[in-house]
Amino acid sequence: MEKVLRINKLSKRFGKIQAVDKLDLDISAGQVFGILGPNGSGKTTTLGMILDVIAPTEGSFQWFGEKDTVEARKGIGSILETPCFFPYLTAVQNLRITAHIKQCGTENIDSVLRQVGLFDRRNDKFKTYSLGMKQRLSIGSALLSDPPVLILDEPTNGLDPEGIAEVRDLIRRITKKGKTIIMASHLLDEVQKVCTHFCVLRNGKKLHEGSVSETLGEINRVEVVAEEMTNLVTVIENFPGKRSFHENGSSLIITMNEGVNAADLNKHCFEQGIILKKLFTHRNSLEKEFLKILREND
């Protein structure tokens, strides 16, 4: 697949602190790539380096396989932490500056403002906006040139629940358009909901990299309890939808094959004359995986 970004041994040191440590990453077109990590793990520093606002101590990166990073940045819509606009200018006037830099013409401004729900306030000064509106304007500005790549750094940071929902909804709509998204977040739930791939950083080091579905792929597990546990074991052994199972105290934990769900299992047991007393589906969250990865690397 076409490489969008290739990061090669990128490092940044701030005095005594190694913010990013020999990071290698490859991001391909169409991926929604989440960079996960606790606060201070080097997520924003990494994004700052690949956007040329922070000078790397070592290492290199390449956008779209090109040498010219300035031209590359014109094809990237970015939001880094806080929205950065002139408070004394209106939304339209601020976006004109973005359009001028991205050389993308001003005809998209109105439609982008409608998309982020700011069209009615387009001629109000930026300083009169609420935080949620400011954040939405920065998303609008990132979308302005209809770039193939978006970089979002903690896009829901500091927003109220309503604002978070709005921004997530917006991100989901963007991802449907097949854009490549690179997103830094410490909100695992957020990454799980929208990302296809992710990596985990801690203290600037990459601990894990993989696709979300593969990492969560083995999670289709069901825990069951019946009156007659010995019979249950036999019945389960005959269940074609299982991949494996093991006893866990007084219950059985069954890992299911792809496409088989708890209802199938329940039906099978019932047909074999076993009434299940308890049935839980274990939906492993990225959160668990994330904590596991952090623990494994302790």
């Binding site: 700052g48 300035v70 830099i101 500005s141």
Partner: protein, 275 residues
């Protein structure tokens, strides 16, 4: 070039502070360039005289002396233009728009170019403005008239243009270093109009220093170097001295500072992480 300049224009054209300072500056130029005759008339009404002559016949508006006279006076208000530069640069730092511009797709070089072209444009506009004021005042008051007089000594306008650019580049550099507009403005104001003039005056005139190398060193101070570009013209009316030659040495010193300012701006921005 046009693209870089337009970036700056988009930032300031709806910025009220910019227009207020610009209008203040242009008014100041009008007052300075046109107020001479009012001053002389006031002196006359107070009974002053120059070696028994009526002050109003002092030929301050005669071509070509008018060019040195007005540009010399106009350099006193160049600090207002510097304030515009300070505000424009420190806005980009405090609002993080410098960082956003880079992220959106310009290089640091293009950013510097946009500010520098803005400075050059402001210098060009004020030079042109002074030229027009000179023509108007000259046509009213000059005792001589004719192309050979009017367009003589135009180099003072060129030097004025150069001086404004250098001084605004210093303002650009200080804004990058100090970052807070208020501090830069106070620092620039105190240093340009008080600290350095006092220091250089002492170095040049104090009996202790007068005979040493101090007076020579004083010529190398950054503000003194600029002030030397257009020398005080009024000596010719009082002492009948003629001091209207531009000195190559003075221009070289000013150019040296100019090079230092531009290089420092490049180095600082290239090294700095924009957080």
């Amino acid at each position: 070039m046009i693209r870089a300049l337009k970036l700056e224009w988009l930032k300031i054209r709806n910025y009220r502070v910019f227009w207020i300072l610009t209008i203040m500056y242009l008014l100041a130029l009008i007052i300075i360039a046109s107020g001479g005759m009012l001053l002389l008339e006031w002196l006359k009404s107070e009974g002053a005289d120059f070696r028994g002559l009526n002050p109003t016949i002092v030929p301050i508006y005669d071509f070509p002396d008018i060019w040195q006279n007005t540009t010399y006076l106009a350099t006193f208000v160049k600090i207002l233009l510097a304030f515009i530069v300070v505000i424009s640069v420190s806005n980009d730092i405090t609002y993080h728009t410098l960082r956003q511009n880079i992220i959106d797709g310009i290089s640091k070089k293009e950013y510097i170019l946009s500010k520098f072209l803005f400075i050059v444009t402001m210098a060009a506009v004020s030079t042109l403005f002074l030229f027009m004021l000179g023509l108007i005042n000259g046509s009213i008051y000059s005792h001589v008239w004719g192309v050979e007089y009017i367009f003589d000594e135009m180099e003072y306008l060129a030097v004025f243009f150069y001086e404004v650019i250098i001084y605004c580049s210093l303002a650009f550099l200080l804004s990058l270093i100090i970052k807070k507009a208020g501090f830069v403005i106070v620092a620039l104001f105190l240093y340009t109009l008080m600290f350095e003039p006092v220091a250089t005056t002492i170095m040049i005139n104090a009996p202790v220093f007068k005979d040493g190398i101090a007076p020579d060193i004083a010529q190398f101070f950054p503000v003194k170097a600029l002030n030397n570009l257009i020398s005080v013209p009024f000596g010719r009316y009082i002492f009948m001295e003629i001091e209207d030659n531009l000195s190559i040495k003075v221009i070289a010193i000013a150019t040296g500072w100019f090079a230092i300012y531009l290089t420092s701006i490049f180095l600082i921005l290239n090294k700095r992480d924009l957080n």
